[in-house]
C-alpha cells in the first residue's frame, strides 16, 4: 500500500517524497553522470546541484592543474580501476582527453596527488548521480 507523502509511517519516520511517474526515470542519473550536478538540477534541487558541481569540477580541475594523470588505457588491474574512476567524471573526462590535458607520466608527489584528485572526482560524481536518481524515484527526499 502506498504511503502518503510527509506523513509518518509505521516506523515513525517521514515517508519519502512521492515519485513522479512522468518522464524518463534514469534521466537524472545519466545527466548527473555526464555533467556534475545536472541530475540535481533536473529534480529541482538547484542549490545541491550547484554545490555538487562546484565541488566535483573544482576537484577535477585541481587534479589537472597539479599535472595529474588521466588514465587512457588499462594495462593492469590498477589501471583498469583508474580508468573506471576517471570515467565517472563523464564529459569532463572525454573533453580532457580530447584536449590532451593531464600529465602522462607521474613525476612528482603533487602530480600523484593530482591523479588521485581526478579519480576521486569521478567516484564522487557517481555518488552524486545515484543520489539524483534516488531523489527522482522518491527513495530520498
Amino acid at each position: 500500500m502506498a504511503t502518503t507523502p510527509n506523513k509518518p509511517n509505521a516506523a515513525g519516520k517521514p515517508a519519502a517524497a512521492k515519485p513522479s511517474s512522468q518522464g524518463f526515470v534514469y534521466l537524472p542519473l545519466i545527466a548527473g553522470w555526464l555533467v556534475p550536478g545536472a541530475g540535481h538540477f533536473i529534480v529541482r534541487k538547484p542549490i545541491r546541484g550547484a554545490l555538487l558541481a562546484v565541488s566535483i569540477i573544482s576537484m577535477f580541475a585541481l587534479g589537472l592543474a597539479m599535472q595529474g594523470k588521466l588514465y587512457t588505457s588499462a594495462q593492469d588491474i590498477l589501471d583498469m580501476l583508474g580508468v573506471a574512476g576517471d570515467l565517472g567524471s563523464g564529459l569532463l573526462y572525454f573533453l580532457s582527453r580530447a584536449a590532451g590535458w593531464g600529465g602522462t607520466p607521474v613525476q612528482t608527489t603533487v602530480a600523484d596527488y593530482g591523479t588521485k584528485f581526478i579519480v576521486v572526482a569521478g567516484l564522487l560524481n557517481i555518488i552524486a548521480a545515484v543520489d539524483a536518481h534516488n531523489l527522482r524515484t522518491g527513495r530520498k527526499s
Binding site: 555538487l52 565541488s55 566535483i56 573544482s58 592543474a65 603533487v110 576521486v120 564522487l124 555518488i127 552524486a128
Partner: protein
C-alpha cells in the same frame, strides 16, 4: 600548480565532505553537520597518521 602537501589535504577534504554531506543526509542542517564531521575526520586522521609515521621513522 604545486600546492604544499598539507594544503592538498584540506582541499581534498572540503570537496569530498561537501559531496558526502549532500548525498548522505536529507535535511540541510544534517547535511552541514555530516559534512563538517567528515571534514574533521579527514583532516584529523591525516594529522594523527602523520605523527604516527614521524614517530615510527625516528
Amino acid at each position: 600548480m604545486h600546492p604544499s602537501h598539507f594544503l592538498a589535504v584540506p582541499l581534498f577534504a572540503l570537496f569530498a565532505s561537501t559531496v558526502f554531506g549532500i548525498t548522505m543526509r536529507d535535511t540541510p542542517r544534517r547535511m552541514f553537520r555530516y559534512g563538517a564531521y567528515c571534514f574533521a575526520l579527514f583532516v584529523g586522521s591525516v594529522v594523527v597518521f602523520s605523527w604516527v609515521m614521524f614517530l615510527i621513522a625516528r
